[in-house]
């Protein structure tokens, strides 16, 4: 219960808390105690990094999946094969209704009526994303995420040259936006967020051709390059919270294994939501195995970068079978 509460509060924007000593299992305490006497050997860490094979294994798989899903819409429409019709906001996969949970929520709030087709689509997608990890929608499907990743690379390159400096915001502002956009939809009767959502705009542009709305997306990307790293996903986008909530109890997640971790912190440097990896800081893990929290997008960047395999994908239902 304590884990779920912490996971949910982190999703809403609270800073991660250090576990009390009595909340740490004896096995984990033992490892913490042993590691306190160990010094970080950077040469060894560097060697482990160099020796690690397939450094971009999950990145490649993820980008391929993201491009595949988005291009499936295009191919389906272009060749009129009715495989995946519509756009990311709502679609039909082989005739089955699918509705993006956040778009559906905005429509329900604005329209105040729920049609059976929309309900079917929403429930289908809810179950699907519950099974595959909630925010995995963000990193494995959302086309804006990919653009944003490229913008992030430029940002980091410029930051290295000391030409830009990341200006952080308070993460709780995303929760404030969530409430604001929900209230706006309900009060005005317009799906206000949908009009500015880069996910919908980019998805439609890929399928139906370029639009002026892409200028808004470009503005967001420039903001992320020159002002604040990954600002939209980190501080604004309500879609992330919606899918984050879906993923709180999801069996699909990244799990942290304390034992071999060197605590050098490379995972936190590549992470979109580094607060979920605070558990990897020396002495912070409450158990020998800890699932990463709901805000995690299951992108696998940490899995790719971890030299000791201390972060790994897990499907918890399968783990129980072992």
């Amino acid at each position: 219960m304590k884990y779920l509460g912490e996971s949910f509060m982190q999703l809403l924007g609270r800073a991660p808390t250090k576990p009390e000593k009595e909340d740490i299992t004896p096995a984990a305490q033992k490892i913490h105690f042993y590691k306190r006497s160990q010094k970080l050997d950077m040469d060894e860490v560097r060697r482990l990094h160099d020796e690690k094979p397939n450094k971009n294994k999950w990145l490649k798989r993820r980008w391929a999946t993201l491009l595949f899903v988005n291009l499936l819409f295009v191919v389906s429409y272009y060749f009129d094969i009715q495989l995946l019709e519509g756009a990311l906001t709502a679609s039909r996969f082989l005739g089955f209704h699918m509705a993006d949970l956040n778009s559906a929520l905005q429509v329900m709030l604005a329209f105040k009526t729920v049609l059976i087709n929309l309900l079917i689509g929403t429930v289908t997608v809810f179950i699907l994303w519950f099974l595959v990890g909630g925010r995995s929608f963000c990193s494995w499907v959302c086309p804006y995420h990919l653009l944003s990743e490229w913008a992030e690379k430029i940002h980091l390159w410029l930051a290295k040259k000391k030409l830009v400096k990341d200006i952080p915001f308070h993460r709780a502002i995303r929760t404030v936006f969530y409430v604001i956009f929900a209230l706006l939809a309900f009060a005005t009767g317009y799906t206000v967020f949908e009009a500015i959502s880069p996910t919908g705009i980019v998805s439609r542009a890929i399928i139906y051709g370029p639009s002026l709305a892409l200028l808004w997306v470009l503005f967001l990307l420039l903001f992320e390059i020159f002002v604040s790293r990954r600002a939209w996903c980190r501080y604004i986008c309500p879609i992330g919270i919606t899918y984050g909530v879906v993923g709180i109890l999801s069996p699909m997640r990244v799990t942290y294994v304390l034992e071999d971790c060197k605590h050098e912190g490379d995972c936190r440097k590549v992470c979109l939501v580094p607060h979920v990896l605070d558990v990897t800081i020396k002495g912070r893990s409450s158990d020998t195995r800890v699932p990463i929290g709901a805000d995690c997008t299951r992108c696998g960047m940490c899995v790719d970068v971890c030299p000791t395999n201390s972060l790994r994908y897990e499907f918890s239902w399968l783990e129980k079978l072992k």
Binding site: Y77, E85, G86, A87, T89, A90, S91, R92, H97, A99, D100, S103, A104, V107, A110, F111, K112, T113, L115, N117, L118, G121, I167, P168, F169, H170, A172, I173, V176, F177, I180, F181, L184, T188, G189, Y190, T191, V192, F193, E194, A195, I196, G200, I201, R204, I207, Y208, S211, L212, A213, L215, W216, A231, Y235, I236
Partner: protein, 280 residues
């Protein structure tokens, strides 16, 4: 007294905050600024909607405009199923209407060549209401003889040749049932020879259906497809020519506007008379 003052002094001094607290404060204020900026940016979308900058013909079965904008999930499934590709998605200049479907009747009207109202069936949210089953139940708008002086029939003139064939970029499609039951054909490829121009009536999907029903061959063999009231017909005008008169059965599909051979079109769809203002 003096002792008291010296005691108070340190308290009056402005508190020197440590860097962490200072940074936290700045971050909080910045975040408020971000919220204010983003909400303002999102509310700009109100302007085109409230001002009605871009009046739009919505696809068949569309709810009243406010309800339509509330319920449309902006997926474009209606765009994908339309056989004549009449539907386009609005851009960001439409504000909250960004991504919502609309029809430009002059370029490509809905000619109901799918018969089954595919766009309505495709709509996942009921923005195109599933209460609509047949073309004659639709109310996209209402045709109007906006420029009677340009109308050939009003001048007592006929029409010979191809419609809008010289117009660059016009690729309008129409299903001529007697030529091809299944595939809509380019309008510009058809030869016409009318003694009095009645192309608006010839292309009216409602009139075509009524004629089929009168001939005992209702569309798809379904008598429910038969429109109960007429949509358009020529009547003698006091001015001497013939006037295209629009009747109650008009659904505002815009086929007449697309097929009107003069430029600009003499007959257009009046967007103010739609599902909002006139009950079908």
């Amino acid at each position: 007294m003096t002792d008291d003052k010296s005691k108070e002094k340190p308290a009056r001094k402005p508190r020197i905050l440590d860097r962490k607290t200072q940074e936290a404060r700045r971050r909080f204020l910045r975040s408020l600024g971000l919220a204010a900026g983003m909400v303002t940016a999102s509310m700009v979308g109100f302007i085109p909607v409230v001002r009605g900058y871009n009046p739009r013909l919505r696809p068949p079965g569309a709810l009243a405009e406010d309800e339509f904008l509330a319920s449309c999930i902006k997926c474009g499934q209606c765009v994908q199923v339309c056989p004549v590709e009449a539907i386009f998605l609005a851009d960001i200049m439409d504000g909250f209407g960004n991504g919502t479907p609309h029809i430009d009747a002059r370029a490509q009207a809905c000619d109901f060549s799918c018969d089954g109202l595919q766009c309505v069936l495709a709509c996942p949210t009921g923005s195109l209401t599933h209460d609509t089953n047949y073309p004659h139940q639709v109310r996209i708008g209402f045709a109007e003889l906006a420029r009677p002086d340009l109308c050939l029939a009003m001048q007592g003139k006929g029409f010979k040749g191809r419609i809008r064939a010289q117009e660059p970029g016009f690729k309008g499609l129409f299903r001529y049932v007697e030529i091809d039951r299944w595939n809509p054909l380019p309008i510009t490829e058809q030869e016409f020879d009318r003694e009095i121009c009645d192309l608006c009536i010839v292309h009216c999907p409602i009139e075509i259906r009524r004629n089929q029903c009168e001939a005992g061959e209702p569309p798809a063999g379904d008598v429910n497809q038969c429109p109960p009231t007429r949509a358009i017909g020529l009547e003698p005008d006091p001015g001497g020519g013939m006037r295209p008169v629009i009747y109650e059965g008009c659904v505002g599909c815009g086929a007449c506007e697309m097929a009107c051979p003069v430029t600009p079109a003499a007959i257009v769809v009046d967007m103010t008379k739609n599902a909002d203002t006139v009950t079908a």
